[in-house]
Amino acid sequence: MKKIINDPEHAVQDMIKGLVAAYPQQLKQIKGTNVIIRKEAPVANKVGLVSGGGSGHEPAHAGYIGNGMLDAAVVGEVFTSPTPDQVLEAIKAVDSGAGVLLIIKNYTGDVMNFEMAAEMAEAEGIQVDKVIVNDDVAVENSTATTGRRGIAGTVLVHKIAGAMAEQGASLKEVKDIAEKVIAGVRSMGVATAACTVPAAGKQSFELAEDEMEIGIGIHGEPGIERKKLTSAAEIAQELTDKVLADLDFKDSEVAVMINGLGSTPEMELYIVNQTVQEILAEHEIKVSHTFVGEYMTALEMAGCSVTLLKVDKELKALLDAHSTALAFKM
């Protein structure tokens, strides 16, 4: 294992300290927890947005804290859900009285821990609701989920629900718009090299030099097929086809996200994007926004994912809305 860390046991805490130290005007750590909140939280009369999950997916989710996006990110151990007490602290810290929405990626542990926290918060008189993101079309069930997994599409849920909340919408309205995004967002990924969880010390799976795995999860959970590495154009075609086959995108307009998994250079992401845009043009699907970069990583895994979100006038305006989030400035 070759990592710039001090002690695998302290990697998460050390990262949080460094992150908050980098942006003290914007972020704050709740003392004694692994919860990072927006400096000015709770924002008066605004629905609070809380997300989180295991760490190792940076900039998710703390990078999406800011005006126009999240109010808190609950940081678990690497690839491990945070516990309910931590999520509860986040809910309490961001509740202004207008209620709190939890944005959860669909993993068994995450769903259970966040749901427990929601029940605990309700018992304390806080209005809480939740949405579960499951944009990954690769597999129906996996080693970590019942149903589909939540991956890069989650970031678009953060952006749109965050913009809605910032405009003063009610908890129900924010939840409804988040559900609208979830209904129209689909993703599919590929890995060309594995990653190493610091505490485990060895790679979570092995891929030969000339192999790739289609449909892999952001924790290295099995995908649908392992095969010889092909060209960027062929990979882009395969991923985009799967996404297009899953939802009727005919005559629709989409936002595109080409997400790097950690160690794939931007150059390669743009090469993939080139083909994705060509395919969409062939299908006469109009593109409103394109985001290329690292939004939801898996430590130093190599590979990328393609996300398409069906947009309309309302979603486009919310995507365009102002955001100060470190990893999603608009």
Partner: protein
């Protein structure tokens, strides 16, 4: 034994913790075969924290003790096992609030725990999860009227072993469904340790 008291619950947790520490590797290797390989480590850490908590506090009521056990497991085990075990103990605590843990009350508390775990994990009997062991014990206990060490341990053991031939349908990849057959479910095994420990406390009391 006619009802479960604070000292019994303490012994129950102490013996459970000893079993889990001793069998940490067993749980981990079962989980490596069909899960994500952290069950032993997580449970060992969680139950050690439970003992630290129980040693630091004094309890008058079983319900208060069960609540602290629940909160500790929830916050220290992590993963999926934390909320599931946490829910089980929380439901028991709620059922026994301001009540003596008589056989009837305790038996109903175990049934409440099963319902809580089913709801939390969205799992039913026969899906190769800890529900299989808990539901079997709850069912057996509801048919009896007094604490029986032998019945509890035998029921739990049989239920645990029955998970070996089951195919996992919760949280597993399609091809893992086949691969999961032949391995006992790690959550069922840790649940067996818990009930085996309870049986030992009952046997000790006579």
């Amino acid at each position: 034994m006619d009802h479960l008291q604070v000292n019994h619950v303490y012994q129950w947790m102490k013996i459970t913790n000893d079993k889990i520490q001793k069998n940490k590797e067993v749980l981990t290797s079962l989980d490596q075969a069909i899960g994500d390989g952290d069950h032993g480590i997580n449970m060992a850490r969680g139950f050690q924290e439970v003992m630290n908590k129980l040693d630091a506090e004094n309890y008058e009521h079983v319900a208060d003790m069960l609540k602290d056990i629940a909160m500790t497991l929830m916050s220290k085990v992590g993963g999926a096992a934390g909320p599931l075990y946490g829910t089980a103990f929380l439901k028991m605590s709620t059922r026994l609030k301001e009540q003596d843990a008589t056989y009837k009350n305790f038996s109903q508390a175990i049934t409440e725990a099963v319902n809580g775990v089913k709801q939390r994990g969205k799992a039913e009997i026969g899906e190769k999860t800890m529900v299989d062991v808990w539901a079997a014990v709850a069912d057996q206990m509801s048919k009896e009227s007094h604490f029986s060490a032998e019945l509890i341990v035998n029921t739990a053991k049989e239920a645990m072993e029955s998970t070996k031939e089951m195919m996992a349908t919760k949280g597993r990849a399609a091809y893992l469904k086949e691969r999961s057959v032949g391995h006992m479910d790690p959550g069922s095994v840790s649940s067996f340790y818990l009930f085996e420990a309870l049986a030992e406390v009952i046997a000790e009391e006579g």
